[in-house]
């Protein structure tokens, strides 16, 4: 009897220590769900989802405060990926969120720019270069196409243009052909 109790107590102690060690050794940093959601979001930081950037939206989804169909740049593919990850019902992108725009890039009409720096303050990824009273320019490679710099410009000199197609970025299209119908 005593040995049995001692044995069980001993086992309990060993497993307890093991579990304790494991929780220290394999500690997960941060909130993995938020990270996983954030990894799916397109990182445009455009705010079209109604949150001030992708991470806040990811947090809102993780907390169950937000639907998964609010990010237009992510499009249907993004929504499906979220549904898959979170095991939620796929939901059509709501009407105001459903326009999945072509990838755009901002261009500053450099002759008109008065160097007010307002666009720099608006750009979420620091993709605009320039100083006070100096002409500003967009680093096209870093621009996410979020459009946030367009509205603040007092002289309306920022335009969004579709990213030009190049041989190096061209993709093979989806093959389209008619299946022939077998008639009897």
């Amino acid at each position: 009897m005593m040995t049995a109790i001692a044995l069980l107590a001993g086992l309990a102690l060993i497993f307890g220590l093991l579990l304790g060690y494991a929780s220290v050794r394999f500690k997960v940093e941060g909130d993995p769900v938020v990270d996983q959601i954030d990894a799916i979001l397109p990182q445009q930081q455009c705010g079209k989802c109604g949150y001030p950037g992708c991470r806040p939206y990811a947090e809102a989804i993780a907390n169950g405060e937000a639907e998964i169909n609010l990010c237009p740049p992510g499009g249907e593919a993004g929504m499906l990926a979220l549904a898959n990850l979170l095991d939620r019902e796929p939901k059509q992108l709501s009407v105001e969120h459903s326009v999945e725009p072509a990838k755009m890039v901002a261009v500053i009409e450099e002759k008109i720019c008065i160097g007010c720096t307002l666009c720099i303050q608006a750009c979420p990824v620091d993709a605009i270069l320039g100083g006070p009273k100096l002409m500003h320019t967009v680093i096209a490679k870093e621009c996410t196409g979020c459009e946030l710099c367009v509205a603040p410009c007092p002289v309306d000199c920022i335009k969004m243009i579709p990213v030009p197609q190049a041989v190096t970025t061209w993709k093979w299209p989806y093959p389209i052909y008619k299946l022939s119908v077998i008639t009897e």
């Binding site: 397109p42 950037g53 996410t144 041989v167 190096t168 061209w170 093979w172």
Partner: protein
């Protein structure tokens, strides 16, 4: 020598005799040369000439972003004849997209005057690194069709086997065949130089398909037993890099792996000759031997063509047939692609043009649903399940397509060739591969955007804190000085009072 076999493959009707029996002829100098700044896999070059500049044949006109190309996935572009640069602008380039890309346009002066060249008298006195530098400067890329910069493959370490690929398995193409028959010594010498650059390989094999007995004969005689010349069975796609490796060594190299990791390097016979000419004569890559064939030309043949020559000009030289050209294919009928017109330049990777009038084109019946017959899986040289790949690519289920190893597919077209339902299978694989590549690129870009956004948030936060601190300090200092002033004033009044008091006492 023991040979292995790869799975599947096809016996195809070669159509090679159309062009294989006439000698290689030099192509005429065209009035205009259109030279794209990107003619290889990798980074584009930058123009180093201006509009109005006079250029000589062999002069560098497009250069990599650094002075020494030998470490970059890029290689220079040279003027292919002498003349004047008349434009640097976007022109149509031979690419399945049909898009334009930056090109240098040269109006030739007809003199074809060379720039001064630097031949190497005895290459064996140079170290592999010095030779590699020399070859990288010559702008040589894989001329079998892929356009991989040659110096990248040549800088591989601890290579045991060098394979020179003279299989040329695709129908219609005969440029490698003609070259092996007419210039076997150049190819052998090129192979020896490549072997030297690789640090002296143990084995050097030249593989020729057994439907080219003359080429085999010529090479064997030229080799004089110094390296192996091997006949391999005629079967499409024997000329595929990985298939040829499998036949000669029995090793299967996965798609994610480079053959160099297994101690093997493969170069095409034309590439070997280009290396030889770059070393022996200091001649950069300005032209190549290619096939112009099909019933749309009166004299199908092989020509040595300057890069930048427009296809229209070349077809005229080969005798334009009477019938209207209905289809123009660059590359072979299995792996090549159709071009919408003739206004494209010949580039480094153009190995063949097939010019066809209407009566040469077999009408492909309309596709029907897959009947799961499995014929495609039987012929796939890399042992894939094409019908599954098709299913997932069509459904845009790219994860599943990757599970079925879509990136191992070499686009050889065997599966589509045998499919009784005539499904354009390869189009689906190309589509799926392009989508997967693009989305991984997008992912990388998103990651960068995320980091930049995080840094910005951090920067704003930091600036805010700094401003706050400054304000705090200013407040503190001003408070302190105020207190000090009050204290001083109090002390002064106190002192005054004391003085007054002491005066009164007196």
């Amino acid at each position: 020598m023991k040979l292995w076999q790869f799975h599947g493959g096809l016996k195809l009707n070669g159509h090679k005799s159309l062009s294989s029996e006439s000698q290689i002829t030099p192509a005429n100098i065209p009035p205009l040369l259109v030279l794209p700044l990107l003619q290889h896999i990798g980074e584009p070059t930058e123009a180093v000439v201006k509009v109005g500049d006079k250029v000589l044949k062999g002069q560098v006109i497009g250069h990599c972003r650094e002075k020494d190309c030998s470490f970059l996935m890029s290689t220079p572009i040279h003027a292919s004849s002498s003349g004047t640069v008349v434009a640097i602008e976007n022109c149509p380039v031979p690419h399945p997209s049909g898009l334009t890309a930056p090109c240098i346009v040269i109006e030739t002066d007809g003199e074809d005057k060379w720039i001064e060249r630097t031949p190497i008298a005895d290459y064996s006195t140079l170290s592999p690194t010095q030779l590699l530098y020399h070859i990288a400067k010559a702008g040589i890329v894989g001329l079998g069709g892929a356009g991989f910069p040659a110096h990248i493959k040549l800088s591989s370490k601890s290579i045991e086997t060098l394979i020179i690929n003279g299989a040329e398995c695709e129908p219609y193409i005969t440029c490698d065949d003609r070259l092996m028959r007419e210039y076997p010594h150049d190819i052998i010498a090129g192979a020896q130089i490549i072997s030297h650059v690789l640090g002296g390989t143990q084995r050097c094999v030249i593989a020729v398909e057994n439907n080219k007995p003359e080429a085999y004969q010529a090479l064997s005689e030229a080799a004089e037993g110094q390296l192996e010349v091997v006949l391999v069975p005629t079967r499409y796609p024997t000329g595929g890099e990985r298939q040829l490796i499998q036949i000669l060594t029995g090793k299967e190299v996965g798609r994610t792996e480079l053959p160099a990791a297994r101690g093997i390097v493969v170069h095409n016979v034309i590439t070997a000759r280009a290396v030889y000419r770059a070393v022996q004569y200091g001649r950069p890559l300005v032209s190549r031997v290619m096939t112009v064939t099909g019933k749309g030309v009166e004299k199908p043949q092989n020509l040595e063509v300057r890069f930048g020559t427009l296809m229209r000009f070349l077809i005229d030289q080969c005798g334009r047939g009477k019938a209207r050209i209905e289809r123009l294919i660059m590359g072979g009928p299995m792996m090549g692609f159709a071009l919408p017109n003739e206004e494209f330049p010949i580039i480094k990777t153009t190995n063949c043009l097939i010019v066809s009038p209407a009566d040469e084109i077999e009408k492909t019946p309309e596709p029907m649903p897959c009947i799961r017959c499995g014929a495609c899986a039987q012929v796939c040289p890399v042992n894939l399940l094409p019908q599954q790949l098709y299913w997932y690519a069509k459904a845009k289920d790219f994860n599943k397509a990757q599970d079925y190893h879509i990136f191992d597919c070499i686009d050889c077209g065997c599966c589509a060739h045998v499919c009784p339902s005539h499904i354009p299978l390869v189009s689906y694989y190309r589509y799926a591969k392009a989508e997967i590549r693009a989305s991984s690129q997008e992912h990388k870009q998103a990651e960068i955007a995320k980091q930049r956004h995080e840094f910005r948030t951090f920067r704003l936060e930091r600036n805010k804190n700094e401003r706050k601190e400054k304000l705090q300090k200013m407040k503190e200092t001003s408070n302190a000085s105020k207190e000090a002033a009050i204290k001083a004033a109090l002390e002064r009044t106190k002192a005054k009072k004391e003085q007054v008091a002491s005066n009164e006492q007196k």
